[in-house]
Symmetry: C2
Subunit: 327 residues, 2 copies
DNA sequence: TTGAAAGCGATACCAT
DNA sequence: ATGGTATCGCTTTCAA
């Protein structure tokens, strides 16, 4: 379902305004742009007509005529705004892009309304960064054919620069952490929507346990928020089969930890991402470094926009680290 | 310092591409848009030329010719991305605007490079929401003359709809909280950059203390982040003049609380905003409701964009509430 | 399948 | 200070 808004629905142009105000179109343009070369009375007259018709100038037409742009924009695309780590990466990319005089804006990806790309084309972006997701075939084709550069964070696609972290290794770190804390049968809480990251983390986790594992703590699945984590935590506690919990994300882990503490339990819990608020909760986590991600992403997209070939074109894989807070 | 990028620097158009590829401009357009009415060979030929010249189609020109837009965008503007509460309001507005089929994007305000508005005009936004700041005179004039609606959150301007919370009352609540917890000489930590919100909170705080206050706990000032809060907390502890702390924001308060806990002190601390991560820290705070803010902001801007007159045009003042976590 | 020509709605220049 | 005109770069229609 696309919401195409046709311009001709009550579509007034500068011409109509000029006629109605009994002036030339050049004069209307001057009123629009607060030009000094216009008398206050004519300006007021024109503005009245503008208000009356709720006229809005057509920005694309203005830009075409102006032939100069005053800023470059890169869009950072995410599928779900509730992922906290996203904001930390966002801040980091934003700061790094600033040095290149490129501005960043964030957008949510939505496939339902036609192609995403056709929607954002209107924004006239110079480049795109996809976070934790990849564009579909159509959007990829559209970007390629229009020569709009894009890169990926935490996902991958052939012939596309990407920055990921070693999720398999991160899963292993989590396993080691729980084992060190005495778990004999740790469980894993999947992301409800399965994805490649989740699979890798889980595989690493399983492999990390393999040598030492006695019993299977099982798996659960939760949506990517605290409430879902809390409910899952309650379930884990009542099931009594697991003696340690590794969660796909910090949001889930915080929810689980809350449930654990509410029950007065000491069940070890560890999350993934290393968002800021894990500190307050005293939650151990497998941490990614948003600063490095942002720096690398900014440098790469800036190079692509400039038309130069970046030195490194192979995907970049960063190594996550354990933050042990004793949770 | 404006970074005007003139289009004519290595400015290739569809015409050049057409000539070089020995085809008509219509055919190039078909290649750009993945049209079915083009043979694979000519498409490939054209794409080669496009790659060779790093040609990028001019989006404004395309839109002008297309005469149809597929999505409306509203920009949410903030001066400083490090304010955590901003993200919660953002999520809330985003969700509410979705119902109106309006998409939200976030942007940082920067006055340094000419007028902000001239920069974002290229994005062709249907409306703007300013968070915790107000546009300057020039930008205001530009938006008004181009008939682009805008509203404010947590600031105010004549003839402009705004949503604020009762900062004076919030300050009073904080005073009462500290007094209830035995403070006799509480201090206030200002925002380093003074602003209207800060003044109101402080005034309410002072008035709340007035009847009961014995000694003046003094005031401090900190930048809007945890580190600054931490340093300020250390200073408060070493000064030993205050026996309770009210902070302008949760970020500062979290920093202060960390310092207090690191020192093994029991000094009462309270923040402002009610960001999610205050829960993890067990920090008491004066809480605003991002859900309500988002709902109201979305409804109002949507009405303005639609050209209808919203029912309520007077500024909306919400009442903050105390969240007591015993900090 | 392809080429040529007619707009799209502003801006800016040149007269007046 | 104001009006008219050429023009911006693309999409789209109409012929071929």
């Amino acid at each position: 379902m696309t919401y195409h808004i046709f311009m001709d629905e009550s579509h007034i142009t500068i011409k109509e305004i000029a006629k109605e105000a009994h002036v030339g179109i050049g004069t209307v343009s001057r009123a629009l742009n607060n030009s000094p070369n216009i008398s206050d009375v004519t300006k007021a007259k024109i503005q009245a007509v503008i208000k009356a018709h709720n006229y809005k100038p057509n920005a694309p037409a203005a830009h075409l005529a102006r032939k100069t742009i005053s800023a470059r924009y890169v869009g950072l695309i995410v599928r779900n705004f509730r992922i906290r780590f996203f904001y930390e990466v966002f801040e980091s990319i934003h700061a790094a892009l600033k040095k290149h005089h490129i501005r960043l804006l964030i957008l949510e990806y939505s496939e339902n309304a036609g192609t995403f790309f056709s929607q954002i084309m209107e924004l006239n972006l110079s480049g795109l960064i996809f976070f934790t997701m990849r564009p579909n075939r159509k959007d990829t084709a559209a970007m390629r054919s229009r020569n709009i550069p894009f890169i990926l964070i935490d996902s991958s696609l052939p012939h596309t620069y990407s920055i990921t972290n070693d999720n398999y290794y991160g899963g292993k770190l989590a396993a080691e952490y729980l084992l060190r804390n005495g778990s004999q049968a740790p469980c894993y809480v999947h992301s409800k929507k399965s994805n490649q990251l989740d699979t890798l983390r889980y595989t690493g986790f399983r492999d990390g346990l393999k040598t030492a594992l006695h019993t299977d703590g099982g798996t659960y699945a939760a949506a990517l928020d605290e409430n879902a984590g809390y409910k899952t935590g309650k379930k884990i506690l009542s099931d009594r089969t697991a003696d340690g919990v590794f969660c796909f994300s910090d949001e889930i882990a915080i929810g689980v930890l809350k449930a654990v503490r509410d029950a007065g339990s000491e069940l070890p819990v560890i999350g993934y991402d290393g968002t800021r608020d894990t500190e307050g909760w005293g939650l151990s986590t497998i941490s990614q470094n948003p600063y490095i991600i942002g720096k690398k992403a900014a440098a790469h997209i800036a190079a692509l926009i400039a038309g130069s070939t970046p030195e490194q074109t192979a995907p970049l894989v960063l190594t996550p680290v354990l933050i042990d807070r004793g949770s």
